[in-house]
């Protein structure tokens, strides 16, 4: 069966079926590596994990995440990027048991690096930025975090990121989100077609 596109842009490409069949097979796993994006909507609000993007490097991940995750909504204050492989992840826990319960060591008190701590409070929900600890390594960061950021709600998973691996948007660049609240046309809810559809339905099938 031969398909013809009604999209004039496709027509202009003059793709022949032959060409389509001849296309060389793409290699497996040829995608770019992933980066995780974190967004703080407004000053004083939490910094939350929003999703991931594929990119060849950190800077491009920032570019992509900006439009991927902050192209809608009312505001954006900060966007952070971390390469997925640079996120150290704790075990998962469940059933009101905090993952910190299995952390039994005490902080070493040796401070060599800064680590950013993210908590997940509900399975399937996004991680949320909790704070920074000074520690020796991942295990020590977990131990410090247990002491400094005790949580009433059980924490089911923790992400630990060495602060040097986090790319954060410049305060001077906040103006790239200046017009966000005017982009309501990007929300499906902005299109109030229900009245038109109702009127049309009544016209074609009056009861």
């Amino acid at each position: 069966m031969s398909l013809k596109s009604l999209d004039p842009r496709v027509g202009r490409l003059h793709i022949s079926e032959q060409e389509d069949n001849d296309k060389t097979q793409k290699g497996a796993l040829d995608q770019f590596e992933t980066y995780e994006a974190f967004v703080q909507v407004k000053e004083g609000k939490s910094l939350d994990h929003v999703g991931s993007v594929h990119a060849p490097n950190e800077e491009m991940a920032f570019l992509f995440a900006k439009e991927q995750y902050t192209r809608r909504g009312m505001y954006c204050n900060t966007l952070c990027i971390v390469k997925t492989e640079n996120i150290m992840m704790s075990e998962f826990s469940d059933n009101k048991i905090s993952v910190y319960d299995s952390v039994t060591v005490n902080p070493t008190g040796i401070i060599t690096e800064e680590f950013e701590i993210f908590h997940m409070f509900k399975r399937g929900k996004h991680h949320r930025f909790i704070g920074t600890v000074n520690a020796l390594n991942f295990e020590d960061a977990m131990a410090n975090s247990k002491v400094f950021y005790p949580s009433e709600k059980p924490v089911y998973n923790v992400w630990v990121v060495n602060a040097k691996h986090m790319l954060t948007s410049d305060d001077d660049d906040r103006d790239i989100w200046d017009t966000l609240k005017e982009k309501q046309y990007r929300e499906a809810i902005d299109y109030k077609g229900q009245d038109i559809i109702k009127a049309y339905k009544e016209k074609i099938a009056p009861d």
């Binding site: 004039p8 842009r9 770019f32 993007v53 594929h54 990119a55 060849p56 490097n57 800077e59 491009m60 570019l63 992509f64 900006k66 439009e67 991927q68 192209r71 660049d173 906040r174 103006d175 790239i176 989100w177 200046d178 017009t179 005017e182 982009k183 990007r186 038109i196």
Partner: protein, 251 residues
């Protein structure tokens, strides 16, 4: 203040944004990777949105409604520079055009933020952050592909050499340069071009790309006063196709 001069300025900005916005939107669904497809499409949408806001100011100065201005004119009534109407070609050309055009546009909006004509100054202040992201996007891509592989470098260089005469057409002098400057509305295309050349060279220096010798490049002008390539009319026909079916349709 000279209204005809202000309208002349508004028309070229609005038409540039609309035509390039439409061209860039042709990449929707065809981008080199999903994330870039979304980013490029969003920026295209920004540009169309910006054109609408400039058409609104024109409307307040007695010109037709934005939709009428966008969809009911023929090629020879458009004031966009020819660079914006050229077909997309391959992604290398689209990226180079995006880089050359948006660098100029950000400088223009920064200059116009100081304009004595308040509606232009306010709008420029409002949207320059949007265009700042567009230039971040362009610069990072150019730096990336401009120093990546032999293929990416030679493709970008070829597109850069091809686009440069058209890019210089961005700065085609207005009939009202002196008036606009005198009234404090806009400092003028010459100042804009000088800043632009320095910024473009500054980015290219960080890549393997070579800045064409500008003295040897003959600018392709005419677009500002209705002299266009054969590519514009088909673009307008396609862009206004739905509108022409029923101009009174409510969206």
């Amino acid at each position: 203040m000279n209204t005809e001069a202000i309208k002349d300025l508004l028309y070229k900005i609005a038409d540039d944004q609309l035509i390039l916005g439409h061209r860039n939107s042709e990449w929707t669904g065809f981008g080199p990777l999903l994330e870039e497809d979304i980013a490029f499409s969003s920026m295209a949408q920004d540009k169309v949105g910006q054109s609408w806001q400039f058409y609104k100011i024109l409307n307040e100065l007695g010109e037709s409604e934005p939709d009428t201005l966008a969809f009911m004119r023929n090629a020879e009534q458009f004031h966009n520079c020819q660079l914006t109407e050229l077909p997309n070609g391959e992604y290398d050309f689209s990226l180079i055009r995006h880089f050359l055009f948006d660098t100029a546009e950000l400088i223009r909006f920064n200059m116009l933020s100081e304009s004595s004509y308040e509606p232009i100054a306010l709008l420029s202040k409002k949207i320059k952050g949007e265009v700042k992201y567009h230039t971040m996007h362009a610069n990072i891509w150019i730096k990336q592909l401009g120093s990546a592989t032999e293929e990416s470098i030679s493709r970008l260089q070829k597109s850069l050499d091809y686009a440069m005469p058209y890019a210089l057409g961005i700065f085609e002098a207005s009939k009202f340069e002196a008036t606009l400057k005198q009234d404090g509305v806009f400092e003028g295309e010459v100042v804009l071009k000088t800043t632009w050349l320095a910024q473009v060279a500054g980015i290219l220096e960080q890549t393997e790309l070579t800045m064409p010798s500008i003295d040897q490049v003959q600018p392709l002008v005419g677009g500002r006063y209705g002299n266009h390539t054969d590519h514009l009319q088909p673009l307008l026909d396609e862009m206004s196709e739905v509108f022409q079916v029923d101009p009174s349709a409510d969206w």
